[in-house]
């Protein structure tokens, strides 16, 4: 006989209604990435070979800085999810899979944070 309630027994073993979260976020960021890619090309292509002063002057504008932060957030989120799928598909040992997923999460977060910091630093004034 056990004093554990039926609810307690099934907790963490069943649907938390979050099973489709990965799929949904992949699509959500995919949709966001369409206009963001066009924005990034629109911004970066004319800046090819530009001087430091020119690049800083264009990133300084609040709307450009905001757009770039959106690019970084959406791209790195999409990339984190995509790379995780690749890891899960090809790495079959549980230990290595977990390690790589952790490294992937941390690396993608680091790329995002460093980029956002750089954009803010430029925008607030170097």
């Amino acid at each position: 006989m056990t004093l554990r309630t039926p609810l307690n027994k099934v907790r963490l073993y069943g649907s938390a209604r979050s099973g489709t979260e990965h799929f949904w976020h992949q699509r959500l960021t995919a949709i966001a990435n369409i206009p963001l890619t066009i924005f990034l090309l629109w911004l970066v292509v004319p800046l090819s070979g530009a001087s430091h002063a020119e690049v800083v002057a264009s990133i300084k504008h609040p709307l450009i800085a905001f757009g770039l932060i959106a690019v970084i957030v959406s791209f790195t989120w999409h990339m984190r999810l995509g790379l995780q799928v690749v890891i899960e598909d090809y790495v079959h040992s549980d230990g290595r899979k977990l390690l790589l997923v952790v490294i992937n999460n941390l690396s993608c977060s680091m790329i995002a944070l460093m980029s956002i910091f750089a954009i803010l630093k430029i925008s607030f004034g170097v």
């Binding site: 699509r27 369409i34 090819s48 791209f75 995509g82 079959h92 460093m114 430029i122």
Partner: protein
């Protein structure tokens, strides 16, 4: 509840891609994944470029020097194509997610169209880039 992988039990596995005749649509699927992984590398370059701009003119010139060298340009050209091809493939996947666009003739057209369109748009983007300077 076991958390052990079933792969350890050496069960027979279903055949993977090597047993199938290579097809254009299948190649496009593989290319979509490969370009996706390549774009993770491209994102690191974008981050590096932003960080260099925030660090100051000296470090920016150093990074710009690497990115605008001939190998740097080739890598950026590859990144441009990967971005556009992955983007076009993504649009196709978003259409498929709605349950539409699975007609065999259409998916063949998507595959060929995305190759031609991605190459054309890459050339266009680089023409604009060179025109801007």
């Amino acid at each position: 509840m076991s958390t052990k992988s079933d792969t350890k039990s050496r069960r027979p596995l279903s055949p993977h891609i090597q047993v199938y005749k290579p097809m254009l649509t299948m190649t496009m699927s593989i290319v979509h994944r490969v370009t996706g992984v390549a774009l993770a590398f491209a994102t690191i370059l974008l981050a590096w470029w932003l960080i260099s701009a925030a660090a100051g003119p000296a470090y920016f010139d150093f990074v710009e020097g690497i990115l605008t060298s001939i190998p740097g340009r080739l890598i950026l050209l590859g990144c441009t194509w990967a971005l556009i091809h992955h983007g076009l493939g993504g649009l196709k996947h978003l259409l498929w997610d709605t349950g539409r666009g699975f007609d065999l003739k259409l998916i063949e057209l998507f595959a060929k169209g995305s190759i031609i369109l991605s190459l054309a748009l890459t050339v266009l983007v680089w023409a604009i880039a060179y025109g801007a300077r």
